[in-house]
Amino acid sequence: MEILAILVGGILINNYIFSRFLGLCPFFGVSNKLETVYGMGAAVVFVMTLASAITWPLQKLLLEPLGLGYLQTVAFILIIAALVQTVEMVIQRVSPTLYAALGIYLPLLTTNCAVLGVALLNMSAGYGFVSSVINGFAGGVGWTLATLLFAGVRERVEGTHIPPAMRGMPIAFVAAGLMALAFMGFQGLFRGILF
């Protein structure tokens, strides 16, 4: 039940874009074409899940027993950078086709605040190992869902007749605001059943 609650919460209710504001730079950056969203989304889900899986033992087995809690920020960002680099090299060796699809998106993930954000949120929420991994996965799926929907909206908006000053980014922000309002509708979802 807790796992289901984390999944629904991460994907819909506390969506990483529309309610937590994490990972916005790539959200606006890659959402102008649907194909790029698939590549970036797959990379985000993959790295957020792995980052949750690797930062939890780092914090609980290394930093906390040694009393090095204050090194959390430094340690997390370094291990995420190393993780992204390793994943990139492994994928390049194992599956060149996957690398061709994800390659250019992977290096960007080091500075994606959703990845470091989910690691920090897992710690402040006090999740266990399994819950942390599920939370990372749900966060990635939520990010991808929001960006996919938004890319569809943006493609429609491109061709419309609007004032020149609103074209491009300004209308994209307004569209994102409307989608955030729509996502507010998920707030009461499963209340009393899961939460």
């Binding site: 920020t73 430094v74 950078a81 000053a165 300004p170």
Partner: protein, 246 residues
């Protein structure tokens, strides 16, 4: 940063940094700009933290720019930035715990704020320490002012008043309470319309410049007709070229 090739002064670099207004012009540092700007004061503290981290890391990176090997420079920058972020995090937790609780994970997330790594790579790694600090203060103050503007609009429309350090700036306040402005959606709306406003201003300026240029070109052409046909064609060609680049 085209001026950095010559020898620009402290003030010139500072003004150049200020003019970039990161969230609007560069689309960098979006996450904190949207997340913490439910009130003007939040924007101020967030901006202050960013200025400190940016200035300290640019100074240190600039001092070490000849020592850091080129191949590992990005990890080194990340460690330097993360160190100063930890300093800010712990300082704010100790002295302004309420604000630390409001800003939450967006303080440690300054590490992955693209503005900081971007300025480290684009400016501090190539310039002297003094100029790097000027750039950091310029960009940081620009960021702070942008955050306070976004926060101010959201607070004014959402609660009907502006508060800074506990004082209500507008006395009784206004009879508006659009709660949507304090919700996540309001952040997107405010930034969207502010960007549209900036675009409109720029468009006006460009049109005015074009009109002024056309007038100058017309006068030059008239003078050239009086002077000779060869000079006239040169003037026409140059004004046409400028019109295209603008």
């Amino acid at each position: 940063m085209k001026q950095s090739t010559s020898t620009p002064g402290f003030g010139a670099v500072l003004a150049d940094g200020l003019r970039q207004a990161p969230p609007f012009r560069l689309l960098l540092g979006l996450c904190p700009s949207l997340a913490v700007t439910t009130a003007m004061e939040n924007g101020f503290w967030m901006g202050l933290a960013v200025i400190f981290v940016l200035a300290c890391s640019e100074l240190l990176i600039s001092l070490l720019r000849k020592v850091i090997p080129d191949r590992v420079r990005i990890p080194v920058y990340i460690v330097i930035v993360a160190t100063f972020v930890t300093v800010v995090d712990m300082t704010m937790k100790a002295f302004v715990p309420d604000m630390h609780a409001i800003l939450g994970i967006f303080i440690p997330l300054i590490v992955v704020n693209c503005i900081i790594l971007g300025r480290a790579e684009a400016f501090a790694s190539k310039n002297s320490p003094l100029l790097s600090v000027a750039d950091a203060v310029g960009v940081g103050v620009g960021f702070t002012v942008s955050l306070m503007a976004i926060g101010g609009v959201r607070e004014l429309l959402g609660t009907g008043n502006l508060k800074l350090f506990g004082f209500a700036l507008l006395g009784g306040g206004l009879p508006v309470e659009a709660v949507v402005m304090l919700l996540p959606a309001g952040a997107f709306f405010v930034i969207g319309f502010m960007m549209a406003g900036l675009a409109l201003l720029e468009q006006r300026q460009r049109e005015r410049a074009l009109r002024a240029q056309a007038a100058v070109a017309g006068a030059a052409a008239a003078a050239a007709v009086a002077g000779g046909s060869a000079a006239g064609s040169a003037a026409g060609g140059s004004s046409g070229g400028e019109g295209e680049t603008v």
